[in-house]
């Protein structure tokens, strides 16, 4: 089991009712972690819509992560 810091933004933050939490997980990829947390962010499939960052660097959904990492889940952006 790994322990990671998860941060939720915008719609995800509102749905989760929190901006961040510490999560214990056996997920190996960021996609697995995202799916395990569907009860928080409410989204079944992030592909093409949502983005993920690992320790303040944009990441791929299939990327692994390590104990102690910080994972940021971004719903579709809309700047400007």
């Amino acid at each position: 089991m790994k322990s990671v810091q998860v941060q939720y933004f915008a719609l995800f933050r509102e749905r989760a009712g929190m901006s961040h939490e510490r999560v214990e997980t056996d997920a190996t990829t960021l996609l697995e972690l995202f799916n395990q947390l569907q009860h928080r962010h409410g989204t079944a499939d992030p592909h093409g819509h949502c983005k993920v960052a690992l320790n303040d660097v944009m990441a791929e959904w299939q990327q692994p992560f390590a104990d102690g990492d910080t994972v940021l889940f971004f719903p579709p952006v809309a700047g400007g």
């Binding site: 933004f9 989204t43 093409g48 400007g80």
Partner: protein
Amino acid sequence: MPADLNLLPRMAITAEAIDVASLREQLFDHAAGAFVSFEGWVRNENEGKSVTRLAYEVYRPLALSIGEQIIDQTLQHVGARAALAVHREGELELGGCAVWVGVVSKHRDEAFRATRQIIDRIKVELPIWKKEFYADGDSGWVNCERCAAHGHSHAELINPV
């Protein structure tokens, strides 16, 4: 292209009104013959709904680093001399300036192309989210333009939470 102007950082996020006159002056450059600027203003209508105000949520660390990278890549790719960009966070009223991009170049084609590329990328690559508040009391997070362009259905996401 020479980089005579020492403008770093070139991407900023601010909770205050954007001072367009000051930004323009920072780009003054006797070797530049063209200056193009873009501003995004809070419009009173979106997709048929009457908008009264809006709020931006920004994840600053990545918005700043990605914005800097976009400006850097665009200046090199297009061959413009210098650029600055600022995005608001927090609440804005109708008519407020949500984002400003300015580019100077020797000739005008480069300034037009660089300004367009920078704003196009800011809108889809920076971790910034827009929540619109409507005249009927509803509110909702606006989806990214790229998704809209691809014709995805985002019914679950544009509903007010």
